[in-house]
Each structure stands twice: as structure tokens, then as C-alpha cells.
Symmetry: C2
Subunit: 332 residues, 2 copies
């Protein structure tokens, strides 16, 4: 049966890089059915809603969704979409590619970010004219589910160095958030122990010092929602920016794939956006749908183009989105 | 009248670097009265309490406190000590020094970190076997107080480039924490506006990408408590590690000064710890007590020693703590 893939371009360069990623997916004769849906600033301007109910429903009932970027409305689009696919983990690989100018070329880290709770709970209150609160939520069930995923991820050799024995590092701030991150830490470490997976731990602030100083010491990093947001973006700075980083929001029988970058309003509409992050997101989608070998072929093609193919302006080249996409498709 | 300075060495290299900082303070014939007090792991082992009431009281009633580091009990010591001096802002300069190997030598940023609330509120609950919560607190009063301090700091030319017109950057995650960081953001920007201070803003995750890519674009950075913790430690990684970074916890008529580093158990007791961060903390203490010129002399002496004086092992040298301290005192 055809896999149904919802395609949401969104705003800005989303309209350029998502078609590029779809072109790459179409290069395989996999039996995909693409369904277009709308979301983002322009959708809000036209319909009053950044994420119309039809788009939410489409994503919720599809096999997978590929999303580009949204502008001002990013949080209104992406957070509900993660819920639509019931994602519990956000997979964010940060790899420095050969030939790409990177502050820390030895960076090769995969963040496994908790994707449902923490400060993203959505529970905030204005208790007085002076005081507002947010309820940060941590459950054992979500922490264990993330940790189970991490153990399987490592055991399957999907970590950066492919070594099933490499284990993972859990990052938290349990010295201050003793009850909530204490629970997170304890559950993650105990799941690792049950699965005989090596797990180190690091405080969030210490990790932020050490990652730029010596990224080579980390492989798979498991963390709460906001820590994963901030620390994976830090890793993006070490590999040369957001233009290269894909992400996968994985649920139980659905998933959402998105480049980590935004709408890049400064270059949107010019046809010169770097399609790499979107194409690598498509590679993650292929793997998620069981096309593991095809996913790897896409990654190899991207790596080849990054090292000696045409480049977009963000990487010092002058190629257009179309030229880079064609070069990737050529190498498949 | 003599200024009373409480001195808490704490654990590990705290016992080596704090005496070095006191030696530097004693080199001026300022009228200081030093009062020793205990805190940390060893104190807990001996008395059952990491921060005995006498130490809390001593810090609360002193003119200023100089603290070294604590081991496992760090949070039990440092968080109450910040309360003892009623600190509302944690000032954390991150400067790359000439002659020190730094990933980003152009880094010169001062973090002004909110020091009383956010996820440091201490309100956590275990609501069920599965679920724990933390109440993140943001008040307009604390946000405005921080912003008032930031405006004065900038106006006094105390930012990295000394330019009263440079303004500051407020970092937050108001796209997700709409009510709490929304309040923080709005109050900080409105205070800046009232004082005619230029204020930019940046999302916390975007800041984590951009700081390593281009630290030169930032000067004074104003942020909530946890963001300040993590992002200032990130900056530490860019200037060559925690060994050089001082901090000041400023209150209304009291303050606490501490190096950003920890107890460094691997080298503790050997007399080879780098005293720079503690000595620079003493420089901040001098300035806080009105000895602005002396503070600057200490900073100049440290800069001189870092660029062509003896160095401790963390900076590739072989000098002892005492030798580096003597070289600093020599240059005063
Ligand atoms: C847009 C925003 C809500 C989102 C997040 O904080 O998760 C983004 O930063 C990301 O990391 O995908
Ligand atoms: C020890 C810990 C509680 C503390 C903090 O989180 O504030 C430390 O990391 C710091 O930055 O001084």
C-alpha cells in the first residue's frame, strides 16, 4: 500500500527547500502518495489560523509528514504538529560535513530530545499583576519511553560512530531541579541499566562548556525538551550553522520531519536557499518508512555534493537551490 | 570603617585559589576585615550541614563575601548564599585573554543573569508516582530590577567595549514560555525604552547557535536564571574554559563573589590550581566596594601575567598557584 506523506512547505524558504526534498524522494520509485497541506504565517493571514484543522488532521492520519518552516507563527505550527503525530522524541543529528567550514569539524552528535513535556507543557498562569508561573512537567512514563528509544537507537548502531557499545550521555540539571530533573535522570539511567547500555551523565551547564571545547567526547545525547532545543542549536553553531541540520519527530506510528532552520526571510523567494537540511530530513523519513538503504544513499549523495559539488551562498558558493538539488539527485 | 569580608574557601581548589585572592586584596592597604567561615562537602561531613547557620548569618551581615567552590553540595551552598546577600543579579563576564588559547578569541560578553527566580524557585512537587512538577516563577518586579541594573551598567560604560551607547541583548524563550518569558521580555524591553537604552532580543536557542559562530556581535546579555547559567558556561567554553571566569552576585547592600569553576578534584591539594578566576572575582569585589581603580589594577595585572607571565598547567604552563599569585601581586 502507498505510504501517504503530507507535505507542508510553510513560509519563506520552506517553499523552496521542501520541493527540493520531494524531488529527491520522487527519484526513488517508492510508492509514495504526496498530499499537500498549508500552515504558517501566510496561511494565518489567509484563513485566520496558522495551523488549520485540515492540516492537523492530515498530519495525524498520514504515515509521515515533511514540513519546511514557518515565520512568526513557528511555535503555533510546529508544537501542535508534533502533537498531531504523537511524537515523543525529537531526533537531531549534528554532523560536521567534509568540505564545510565548521568551528569544530570533529562534531558528530545525535540529540534525542524529549518531545512532549518539560517547559513545553503549555501550563502557564498569570497569578497577579506582578507574577506569572509555568508548570514544568516531568513524568516517569515519558522519561522511560525516551530512554527505551535511546537504548534501541544505540543498540541498533544508529549512534554517530555506529558502535552498539558506545552508550549515551544524559544531560540534565538535577542539582537544581531535584524533583523533576531528578526523576528524569533516575528513570533514564535505570532504563539504560536494564538494557545494559552504558550511560554517562552531565549537568546542562557543564555540557555547554564542554561541547565546544571537546565535541569528540560525545555521541548520543539524551535530554529534556528545552535542553535538547538549546544544546542541539549550540551543536549547529559548531558544525557551521542551521542550514545543514535535519530533524525527525518520532511517534508510535507516525512521524514529522523538518529541517532545523527557519524561513530565512533575507533570501526567501530568490531560489538560492540551501536544500541540504530538508533533503537530509527526507533521508530520515525514508529510513523511518523502512527504506534504510535509500536513506543512506541520499545521505551519501548529500555528503558528496557538500564536499565537491555545487554550493549555495551560505556555504560560499553561487549555486541555486535547483542546481544543488539536481546534483544530489544525480548522485543517487 | 573597615569593610567586613567573609571568606569561604569551601572544598577542593577553593582552599588554594581563595587564599590567593585574599593575598591580592591584602596587597592594597584598604581597610578590610576578613572573617573566615565554612561551607561545602567537608563542612557537611563534619557538622551535618553544607551551609551552617553561622556562615549564612556571617554572609548576610557582611559587606561582601568571597566564596571558592563546593563539591557535591554546591547547590546547597551557593543557592542559599545568593539569598543571604539578597542578590538579584549575577554578573558574569566572559572575556578571552591575550595569550590564552581560546576557540573564539573575539569573545567579550558580560552576562547579567536574573538571580532569584525562573526554574530556581525551589517549588517542586511529586504529584503522583508518575508525575512531578516544578513551578517556574517570573515576576515583573524582578525582571524590572534586573533591567534597571542592566541600563545603569550600560550607561556607566561597564559593558565590554565601555561604550554607553552599546545597549544590551535580552535573551529569552518567549515563543514557547509566552506568559512567563513573555512577561520577562516585555518588562526588560520596556525598562530599556524608559532609559533610552538600545535593546535587541534573541531567542535562547538562536543565541546558542550564533554565539559560537560570531561572538563579536554581542556585548551585554540580559537573561533569565537558567539561560544565564547555561549560556555563560557556553561562553566559558569559547574563551578557553572555566578557569578564568569570575562572577559577582550583586544585592542591594551586600554581594557575593565567586569563580565560575568548581572544586577540580583531579588537581585539588597539589598547589597547581589556576587562581585567575578567584583573583578576578576579588577585582569585582574591589570595584563593588568602591575601589574602582584598584579593581582595574588587579585586572591589568592578571592580563599581564596571562600574556607573558608564569602559567598553571591548565594553560599549558608548569607554575604553581603561589608563583602565579606572586607574579600578579608583583605587577599591582
Ligand atoms: C519554533 C520553536 C517552538 C521550536 C522549539 O522550541 O521546539 C524550535 O526552536 C525547534 O527547535 O524546533
Ligand atoms: C551549582 C549550581 C547550583 C550553580 C547554578 O546553577 O547556579 C552553578 O552552576 C553556577 O552557575 O553557579
Amino acid at each position: 500500500m502507498a505510504a501517504e506523506i503530507v507535505v507542508i512547505e510553510g513560509d519563506g524558504i520552506g517553499k523552496e527547500v521542501v520541493p527540493a526534498a520531494v524531488e529527491v524522494l520522487e527519484a526513488f520509485d517508492s510508492d509514495f502518495e504526496f498530499v499537500e497541506a498549508d500552515a504558517g504565517d501566510a496561511t494565518k493571514a489567509a484563513t485566520g489560523e496558522a495551523l488549520p484543522a485540515e492540516t492537523f488532521e492530515a498530519a495525524a492520519s498520514a504515515d509521515a509528514t515533511l514540513f519546511g518552516a514557518a515565520g512568526e507563527t513557528a511555535a503555533d505550527v510546529i508544537l501542535p504538529l508534533r502533537e498531531a503525530v504523537e511524537s515523543f522524541v525529537n531526533v537531531r543529528p549534528a554532523t560536521a560535513y567534509p568540505g564545510v567550514d565548521a568551528l569544530r569539524p570533529e562534531t558528530d552528535v545525535v540529540f534525542l530530545r524529549e518531545n512532549t513535556e518539560g517547559v513545553y507543557s503549555g501550563h502557564e498562569d498569570r497569578l497577579s499583576d506582578d507574577l506569572s508561573t509555568l508548570t514544568r512537567v516531568v513524568t516517569s512514563s515519558a522519561s522511560r519511553e525516551l530512554a527505551e528509544f535511546a537504548c534501541e537507537f544505540v543498540a541498533d548502531g544508529r549512534g554517530p560512530n555506529g558502535d552498539a557499545d558506545e552508550g549515551f550521555t544524559v544531560v540534565h540539571k538535577a542539582n537544581v531541579m531535584r524533583e523533576t530533573d531528578g526523576r528524569f535522570r533516575e528513570e533514564v539511567l535505570s532504563v539504560a541499566d536494564e538494557h545494559d547500555v552504558d550511560a554517562d551523565e552531565e549537568l546542562m551547564d557543564a555540557f555547554a562548556t564542554k561541547l565546544p571545547l571537546d565535541p569528540g567526547q560525545y555521541g548520543v545525547v539524551v535530554c529534556p525538551n528545552l535542553a535538547g532545543d538549546v544544546l542541539s542549536d549550540l551543536a549547529a553553531g559548531l558544525v557551521g550553522g542551521l542550514g545543514l541540520l535535519p530533524s525527525a519527530n518520532i511517534g508510535h506510528d507516525n512521524a514529522l520531519f523538518e529541517p532545523v532552520h527557519g524561513t530565512a526571510p533575507d533570501i526567501a523567494g530568490e531560489g538560492i536557499a540551501n536544500p541540504t537540511a530538508a533533503v537530509l530530513s527526507a533521508a530520515l523519513l525514508l529510513e523511518y518508512l523502512g527504506h534504510v538503504e535509500e536513506g543512506q544513499r541520499v545521505r551519501d549523495a548529500v555528503t558528496g555534493v557538500l564536499s565537491d559539488g555545487p554550493r549555495t551562498g551560505d556555504l560560499g558558493g553561487e549555486a541555486t537551490t535547483d542546481e544543488v538539488t539536481a546534483a544530489i539527485v544525480d548522485r543517487l
